[in-house]
Symmetry: C2
Subunit: 256 residues, 2 copies
Amino acid sequence: MAKRRPALSRQVLWETGHKYFLPHISIDNVIFGFHENELKVLLLQWKESKRWCLPGGFIYRDEHIEEAAVRVLQSRTGLDNVYLQQFYTFGDPHRDRKKHGISKPKDIKKPSWFMDRFVSVGYWALVEFSKAVPKPDEFSEACAWWDIDKVPQLILDHNQILEKALQSLRLNLNDYPVGKDLLSPKFTMPELQRLYETILNKPLDRRNFQKKILALDILDRLEERKTGGAHKAPFLYRFDQRKYERAMKQGLKFGL
Amino acid sequence: MAKRRPALSRQVLWETGHKYFLPHISIDNVIFGFHENELKVLLLQWKESKRWCLPGGFIYRDEHIEEAAVRVLQSRTGLDNVYLQQFYTFGDPHRDRKKHGISKPKDIKKPSWFMDRFVSVGYWALVEFSKAVPKPDEFSEACAWWDIDKVPQLILDHNQILEKALQSLRLNLNDYPVGKDLLSPKFTMPELQRLYETILNKPLDRRNFQKKILALDILDRLEERKTGGAHKAPFLYRFDQRKYERAMKQGLKFGL
């Protein structure tokens, strides 16, 4: 749980934010969700330019950067206890608004630390889509889920940050059971396979996938079946918390 | 090749370094070498306190953080064209000298940005031991290789940074053929196995190791054998550049 911090107005943030936060360092969160067989990412739309960006924030001078990432995730989704993975720090000297043609809003008179170069620490998170309640921040007028393959041109290098987060997520597929965070507690084998296919952006063989994921011995097959489909109803599965924790300690080796 | 930068004196660095460098951000390099069957790490000894630390540095205001890491690596080892891997960014709010009982040297009169909190971006590098020429920086009186299991208590959180670098190196063993950087161009199978055993800190089965590493199809067995031993001389191997590049494009899957 992140420490409660006083709300700072938009103007204070622009003009004197550097008194509260470390200058030149930001965090950017790539928040993934999964809904109706699509991998989604949570984006914010800026009030001034109407352009979209990743939800991000700054680091209070007495705050751990990880705590800042948790705080941003909480305020944008309302979710607690979500696994966050630091994946890369972006340090191009051209990471500043001026160099990307973004100007200060007219009502901000003083020079602003916002216009300086920022090094940004990237985190990704996997959230259960149905539980997240997207909420804009002080600078944005909208906060919404986008299909991963329909993401527009984002500000600064945010498209590259998103791409790098996806790469990191793919590399982590063998070590981290993403289904546990991204799916509802009960799910079918086709739903789980579709999640992996979406992240890897390639089709997987059905039998081979099922064999490998069951061999990890972290799933329980339930007695219930999914209802509502026209075809024979598929079995429902869920992650077995005890087996799952044991497997995580030993390290998963999925080998897709 | 990093851009040439003017040398700044120790006093300028302490007193007005923040005019040249980004405040609150540093880099730390964990430089690994392998010699006489031991994994080594390059450390610096501070002039004032005689305590040891990782070689690190700051980021010029117009410099990419990666370029800063390359510059530090070059100045400490004399080596060019070394693969550097960013592995983690350390953002504990207690990362400052004051909180770790380190005081300003007496001859530095002004308040110094050095005493502030620093977020540090960690990189690891693998260098060929015999080619590196260790060289102290402005603040240190010695630069030396230490056996990985004999590293003393380092300043700040540098022991944790080293531990995290080792973890990252281990995770990368399946994807990156470390032998190419850490061994001489020609090596024996026992030497290569010993390198992996040292990094993983556990013994590996000889036959299994040889079978798996040869299955990657990136090594050439030479006609020569290693000379000088009392026993039957083992074959020499080398990395095949063409096969190696092809394998790296496809992604190695060693599966140790």
